[in-house]
Point group: D2
Chain length 422, copies 4
């Protein structure tokens, strides 16, 4: 593929130095459809990145697009704060009927503002208010957001340093399989809780991702999650599952924690909940936790009605039966097989892989290899990003709607990129 | 107007108790156009609320709508994180050419996530990073957002209590005309800065709204703003103007600080910057402050491309010449005249009013009167909300595109609502 | 006076750079009696510093000395934590009978550790525990101690910077006469408390010195103190008077707040309470505030029994009648007359003075003059130190037992030192 | 022994509920000598508590007493802030010649205020200032003091709760042998430090006790301490050894860390450094860390000259040769043998013991047994206290000057108290 030098000047002169993805993918994208993006010169890119998990149903999914266009054309409410609207009612009813009830969940739904970090901020506020305690337990390599509340429970030192103040009230515990693989789960965490002399401020809640996407595709085992839920119950801590990236089917079932059979007290959703990449976020919690006063937390864009429309359409289209989950697990097996083969081919480079559903990570002994693979993949027309504290993991997040052929193509390009960076 | 009992059940059973606007306006809105919303029974409501300032160009503005539909129909990028896209380039160029250059501003543009609180969090982070200090000065009755960083510089005690942790690193100073009207501006603030024994942690920055919308429509005089800018300069503090509600023409000029002739170091924009009520936010700062590392602050929805499209269309349509500013000031005069008349009529109830451009507040001696007026206005088909720490101010935020007739109608309904709550 | 070069080598090589008084008074003191110190070469120094207020009864006061020697000789308990001892019982009974009962106070007595900062830490802990709030109001130029709790309510920027962490949970308010002398007392403070939108975290307590010794000999008027006590009562804040330097008769009455006729909720005492310069501190509080659990605050040296012995002897000797108070006020008048004369003589240098009882400050337009005066006074055999945020005040703290002749002598030396630094 | 009901009324009516030791030992002590205290009725108590470690040389040690009386009689300086005095010079020279130089230490000496918590506050301030970081690592069951800085690195939940604010900037790590005895030392700590995504704020320093006295007589192995020192070196963290209770010979050598062969960056000393139970504390640090500004940390009683006198006498008497260390280790063996025998006799009650030098702990399966043993011991004329987070350890701290006969007697009383609480 030949890439004409794109006109990036306004980005380079006007946009802040904080910009990042555009640096790794130095082209100007113009349109997109399904699993492909197209730049302004018409080059196609196969997308194994999916808006960092915000595009589980692919770009401009035609079913959602039709619903959105219809809504806009008929002058449906575009912006509604938390006024009652027909679009919001439809979403709430659909979410209840398609997501909550079939899973036996009676959680209340809060619209905390349309981004993941808003959802996490609301979850932490509520947990602290309910328990009357300040301290939150998070996990090594957690990623929960960039506003100060969420950042304090995020692991990445570089992101944390951006706060400009010391981040407090959060304490990290080891995520599953963090240490030597020999140490019993939660031995340290539980000892701290049991010991009145441990120095740990009694936590209001624990916040966890079932798979740490930004943290390096670290996968918690179902039994570890069950152990954690049990620990929370025994020690009067609320369990918050941050399902912003792993929810909405990314790991197979709608919620990533379903496989473990646990029921979190609080769940955050964002990214793909809107379905079309439009900003939307939810904070769900057990009804007995709903001690909010009216307006105690708010936000101008918490009623992003176009996103309600696409969200409802996505749930109606993909989640009324078990097809999507089955398909994701099947695509996951296809991915795993390809990664196993890549890893075997590059055993000399210490290649390894891990994942679940349609989130996978590929690692190498040399921590800088991942970035090289992503760079080469871009040149070959495949979008993949790195993750992990040292950007040492190639992270694969194809759309859940990817076809087996597209998946195969992307994995072959990936294999080539690995080979060509050896 | 007769209102059939709307079906609110799913809101009442499933949505969290935190919901607020829907309580004051107990109907289900379905569509909207210009200055009117329509509920599902077809009742029309004249909107003097404008999405809390997010709909300066009215609901479903046809020019913006056309641009948005075209973009969606042609499969333009819907979600792009901070990838370079043609929609983003167009926005940046338009913003530069229409907003920045004509005002002699060379600020860099950051997309901090699509909500106001994201923009404030980014502004505070950057100020702290640049100055290497933690402390921020805010003002009495300030409102900057609900995530922990922004909430710490927000005045409202009820919102602050929601944090669940003690909010620190922020110190309030008196806003313009806060005390007895006799005390020289900044006498306390400057004395604290001058006195090495004052106990004030040296601030990194000052964050201010030129008109405090949520705080009760408190209007800072231009000379007070100039005094503040001067104080910041003399004491090495960055000046952050939070123009989220008052920017985008609400007070007349594009930026609300233009009248004062000051140039803030950092500016936050959100609400109406997207034009169509779609989530978008900007943090602007002088180029020498752009010390961000790539990715040091990020957010999934920071590249809300449909909002770039409507934002560009709004700038192109309304801000290439001085018409919009003139029109807003003219509508403001019309509003002021009507409010003067209402206040005169209700002098016995201590009625007063204040405002600038198209943001106005109406107050009464009895602090509960404002809520009563808003309730009655709703019954009469007019949407207005209260603001202020005790919800003691009727706040008027008509669309900037309101016609003189609509404005007149709404002000007459308001007058009637005041009369009928006497 | 000729001063042989003293052997200061071990101080300069072994003691930390943090040492301070020894730098201004470069000699090695060996013994002391009454208002005089003697260095190892036998030079006498008249002491108008009194151990920063810890030696109100002079050095090695013979009555106290006898009691102390007797106690030590008979093997009285030297160290007792908070065990009951005969020396402690005698002190408690004496303190009750001589200090508390005659003043109608029913405060409980806590031994928080033997230093002022311990007493302040205990006071703040208790106030926070009682009120369930974190925030404390302090005043500009307050000085309360060097441990982190006390330092957070101390004004001096240089001392605060030593913390190495951002000091939070404290907010400064203007001390009496801090601004232009026109602004009504507490107008800002009360407005913040009244306004639910002010952004001030509701305070648990207010901590105040009636005269700010370290802060520059700033004297609060009785009516200001009464206003403050009234404000605390009306706004449910505890009033803590830090009487560590101004208590034990420094301003005339035993407690410095007696003149104002107020009864603080909590009082801290240290410095001269031990009488002989031995470490001792008390935290006093209204009985209904005594919600401490046994051992919730402790400290190894809180039962410094030798100090109990000298403390009891001092109370018995000086405080069973009103003589000491009268004498202090008389000495104060003598001091004031001399300072008035000095100020008149140096009106061209903007000389001013202020004080109460036996704490006085002398200031000059040139903020560096105070240090020069102290240096010259030392050469002339008089020990006086500076205070204030810029060390711009010559602070006089003679022993309360100073004779009129000694006082006269010292004031004449001071006058000469002022003259010789013109 | 028969105990007449002592007159405790003033303690019960006037002293705060916070008092603690006096509750367990309900008598009024009057005088003391060597290893014995006597109450006002003349009953003798053998003291295995030693002022919580502040009386290593016994009560009213005759050599120290003579020096103290001489000093007071000749009107030596009683109170000197940080003025140079002959007593202070003598102490500094003695400390240098007897303690520092023979151990090859070139640490600077700071007098931070006369209590342990002052010494810890100064150590933490300096570490933060030197490293420019806020975070401190402490250990489970650490005890460092009651002022806010020291309390934040103290483990006990009950003490921490007394703060009334959330304690932050400290993170606990597992002390030696805290978990299952299988987990490699520092595996968790080092992983957090190595992983840029761990969420641990980079620490300025680590603070540790070599034996946790208050925490339950938990003894760190020399190899664990060496591992810790090595970890600090490799990760640019300062190592602070809090030797307040374990220093001054309690474990055998003068400093408790000598056995491990490590050299801490900062050392705190208090309790027995004054020798006679008079308040005194030191903060020692490597000369390159001495970046204090003059007066940046201070304290009224930091120059407690009578304590300098007894401190010098103690060093001169006991530490100029290796006798004291040998004797302590020998007494330790005697103690250990007795405890082994007690534990063997009470194996059915899960009795265990641990300790080093002359600090020993005795534990039982039933955590309430320790308190019962201490109560019975008191009735039998022996003073011992409990320690540990649940007061589950009988802690033995006899004077280092205890005779073998006294030690034997006390251990026999202890054995009887254990038997009689079976």
């Amino acid at each position: 593929m030949t890439i004409t030098q794109p006109d990036l000047s306004v980005f380079e002169t006007l946009e802040s130095e904080v910009r990042s993805y555009c640096r790794g993918w130095p082209t100007v994208f113009d349109r997109a459809s399904g699993s492909h993006l197209y730049d302004e010169d018409g080059h196609a890119y196969l997308d194994f990145f999916s808006g960092a998990g915000a595009l589980n149903y692919g770009h401009n999914n035609p079913v959602l697009k039709r619903a959105l266009l219809d809504y806009l054309e008929r002058d449906g409410i575009a912006h509604g704060l938390d006024m009652s609207t027909t679009a919001k009612r439809a979403f709430l009813e659909t979410f209840r009927d398609v997501v909550l009830r079939p899973r036996g969940l009676d959680h209340k739904v809060m619209f905390p503002g349309p981004t993941g970090t808003n959802a996490v901020e609301a979850a932490l506020k509520l947990a602290r208010k309910v328990k009357g305690r300040e301290s939150i337990i998070s996990f090594t390599n957690a990623f929960h957001g960039m506003s100060l509340g969420a950042l304090a429970v995020t692991g990445n030192a570089f992101k944390r340093a951006g706060a400009g103040i010391p981040l407090v009230h959060g304490t990290p515990m080891p995520f599953d399989d963090y240490l030597d693989g020999q140490i019993p789960d939660f031995i340290w965490f539980e000892r701290l809780l049991d010991d009145a002399g441990s120095g740990l401020n009694t936590p209001a809640a624990v916040i966890v991702e079932t798979v740490q996407g930004e943290g390096g595709v670290n996968v918690a085992r179902p039994e570890w999650l069950r152990g954690l839920a049990d620990l929370c119950r025994r020690h009067d801590m609320l369990l918050i599952v941050d399902d912003i990236q792993m929810g909405c089917g990314r790991t197979g079932p709608f919620f990533s924690f379903e496989e473990a059979g646990i029921v979190p007290d609080i769940v955050t959703l964002s990214k793909s909940i809107g379905g079309y990449g439009l900003p939307l976020a939810l904070t769900l919690f057990r009804p007995e936790l709903d001690i909010w006063e009216p307006g105690e937390h708010n936000g101008t864009f918490r009623g992003n009605n176009p996103a309600f429309v696409t969200a409802s359409a996505a749930l109606d289209t993909y989640w009324t039966d078990g097809q999507m989950e089955k398909q994701t697990l099947s695509r996951g097996e296809q991915t795993e097989a390809a990664l196993r083969s890549i890893a075997a081919e590059h055993a000399h480079a210490g290649a390894g892989f891990r994942g679940r559903g349609l989130v996978w990570g590929l690692t190498f002994e040399d921590t800088e290899r991942a970035a090289a693979v992503c760079r080469r993949a871009f040149e070959l027309g495949l979008l993949v990003e790195t993750s992990g504290p040292e950007s040492e993991v190639v992270k694969l997040l194809p759309a859940l709607t990817v076809t087996p052929e597209e998946l195969d193509e992307g994995l072959r390009v990936l294999a080539r990129a690995v080979r060509e960076t050896d």
